[in-house]
Symmetry: C2
């Protein structure tokens, strides 16, 4: 017997027929003797409708009222799923964020979960074999007794946090893909589904553009060591053996659980990048702060900072990337900061792409990145900038070479099936 | 300065444009210096949609889950109205039933309000001039921490109960009619809007078929002496002088507040009645219990019981009415009870109507009913049964004579304008 959290997104609960399908997935696990908590999103389209009403009511709406309005979507699905489960003879009860309670920060519309009391849900697992159907995406600020929401994709975070709170053996994320792939299968048809991926790797994959799960939910899973299993909600519920150790999907887990660790696990890429280079910056203390301080204050995320050691010891070139959407704003801010920073000129490009190679195995293998530089050079792909960490390296290249580079690296590191 | 509760139904909040119109009504009262709590229903159509989902999920759905689902409709409108009010520069905050809290019984889907703590709302009136926007129709069962709903039309009850809890000077019910009329204007074009009506009279008018307000809400108003003002939500918000003592509408109030009390206040009628007569019932103790006990157990509402004193002292005839929808079911139950009751035969009709004449003034005036008997006889209208109370009398007549009777009585008691 295991204790499971099962999470279903908006398309999986879009109407009563689909909710019935979700219920059959739940029934399979209950029949196998597992203790189950289900986390649901709003019916697809509902959150958008509610958000549109708030915006029509006032473009500058109060986030507390916005939260009260949009949280109603998950409230509806949780109640409906509980009804369907009961009609199948399964003990079930719905839970809103405030009922458990899921305590969050007061950052309405993007609150962070602070504490979840899982005791009542565990008690009902044990006393009544009752399935808890929990409204995702929401919580309560205990200081004001107001409903909060976690921001888009927050139901993943709810699911992982609840899994941690009830000490679940696994958190199953049912989504519209059947797992995590070595890279985007739309670009590389030979991409393989990973059977397992380590938390750290998944975090890099997610934040670098693989859109399977929300980044925050993976961080949370890593901190609390919650094993997360990504699987498809389109699978026929009855076709899956609940006792199988290998249902189709990808397990996100501790690296120790991955016996045969590959050097490279996956290739991620992002085309929403822009590069900015500041030429002949005075090479003196405080200059980095003068550049990046104003950008941070404007909430612009800076990535891949590369600074060359200057030849003359007087000036240097600094290159970094920002999200493409912030490119113009970043340039304007830097122009304004020119007197304080002291530099010669600014240049940049927003037709660039970032390709990243990820793998925990890199820690113990030298020369992994060097292989990539050679391979891309052979194909005539120019590398604009490089940044590395323990378990990944990222290359900034021209956007129109991105697909070619991803395919080349995918086969270079033996990921093709 | 007064303290007001303003209640708006589903058609008044059907979309953002109409919610804006509601907000202008609220602004008028706030600008006049009043302290305001607003109670809102769900957008029209929303509750039906949510109920339909519950029924599709399972026809025998759990009432606790049903309540969690349907209460979301009012949650949405309360948040949206708060947003619109804020955008007009008015301090406002939404409140769900569980936040105040509005404590109710555990009778899910038709819960009764047990207690409301109005202290926080009053504090915010005083400290911040904040408008409370309250989700109607719902509360919480404090024993289980579950959302409850009050049943259809429950927002009227919410409004009156909140008015009592915050000690409001008046509870304004904005509806699709501009007040309470002496009778149904569709039948009697000369029907007049009443400026005032006593609680007791309104209770009779409402339970006898005038569909302006839910009966329970009027009972509650009477018990707590909450003055209720019924007015139209179609009035242009800016056309009404908030300081006027006579805006268009009807005040439901204590009889002492009605200086010129008429003998008759209004005529109500109902065509949804059926008559059942039990012939030659044994006239012995316990026979009434044997008849009405089984009907009560089947939740059939019995009204207008008439029993004649028997000539021979051995048998009697008993006539009563039931809702037309329950006619056949009632007959079946009585057929089954025949051995226990001991009667000769059953007859009945479901093409009957009940016409009622209501007025507190009847208490001090003799012969009010006798005038009616004469007037209807003059028109050839046969009276099948009569029942009387202190402040009303009801006549059971053939359904096709109902309109004629209502018109005749309306003019007989000087109610024509």
């Amino acid at each position: 017997m295991s204790r499971l959290v099962m999470k279903f997104g908006g398309t999986s609960v879009a109407n009563i027929e689909r909710i019935r399908n979700v219920a059959r997935h739940v029934k399979r696990e209950v029949d196998a003797g597992h203790e189950v908590a289900v986390v649901v999103s709003a019916m697809s389209g509902k959150t958008n409708e509610l958000v549109a009403w708030c915006t029509e009511a006032s473009p500058m709406h109060d986030a507390r009222e916005y939260d009260a309005v949009v949280a109603s979507g998950e409230q509806v699905t949780s109640g409906l799923l509980a009804i369907v489960l009961q009609s199948m003879g399964i003990q079930a009860r719905s839970w809103q964020g405030w009922q458990i309670p899921i305590k969050t920060s007061d950052a309405h519309a993007s609150a962070r979960i602070e504490d979840i009391d899982g005791s009542e849900i565990i008690k009902r697992f044990q006393d009544r074999k009752e399935v808890a159907v929990i409204a995702g995406f929401q919580g309560i600020d205990p200081r004001t007794n107001r409903i909060t929401t976690l921001g888009r994709g927050g139901s993943d975070t709810s699911a992982v946090a609840i899994a941690a709170a009830v000490k679940a053996d696994r958190c199953d994320i049912y989504t519209d893909v059947d797992g995590v792939y070595t890279t985007d299968p739309r670009i590389v048809p030979r991409a393989r589904r990973l059977e397992k991926i380590a938390f750290e790797e998944m975090l890099e994959m997610a934040s670098l553009g693989a859109k399977v799960m929300q980044v925050r939910s993976i961080e949370l899973a890593m901190v609390h060591r919650v094993r997360v299993f990504v699987r498809s909600s389109f699978d026929k519920p009855e076709d899956i053996d609940p006792m199988s150790n290998h249902p189709p999907g990808t397990l996100i887990c501790d690296e120790e659980e991955i016996v045969e660790q590959q050097v490279v696990t996956g290739i991620a890429y992002s085309k929403d990048e822009a590069q900015i280079s500041i030429r002949r910056v005075q090479d003196k203390p405080g200059v980095a702060a003068a550049i990046f301080g104003p950008l941070a204050e404007s909430n612009i995320n800076v990535d891949m900072i590369v600074q060359n050691v200057s030849e003359d010891g007087l000036t240097t070139d600094i290159t970094f990337t920002v999200p493409a959407a912030d490119y113009q704003r970043a340039c304007d801010i830097l122009e304004k900061a020119r007197p304080a920073v002291g530099y010669d000129k600014l240049d940049g490009a927003n037709d660039v792409a970032k390709v990243s190679v990820i793998g925990i195995g890199m820690r113990s293998h030298a020369g992994v990145a060097a292989k990539a530089f050679r391979a891309l050079a052979d194909r005539g792909i120019n590398i604009r900038a490089i940044s590395t960490s323990e378990i990944k390296f990222s290359l900034l290249i021209d956007a129109d070479a991105a697909e070619l580079a991803v395919r080349r690296l995918h086969s270079l590191y033996g990921l093709d099936k």
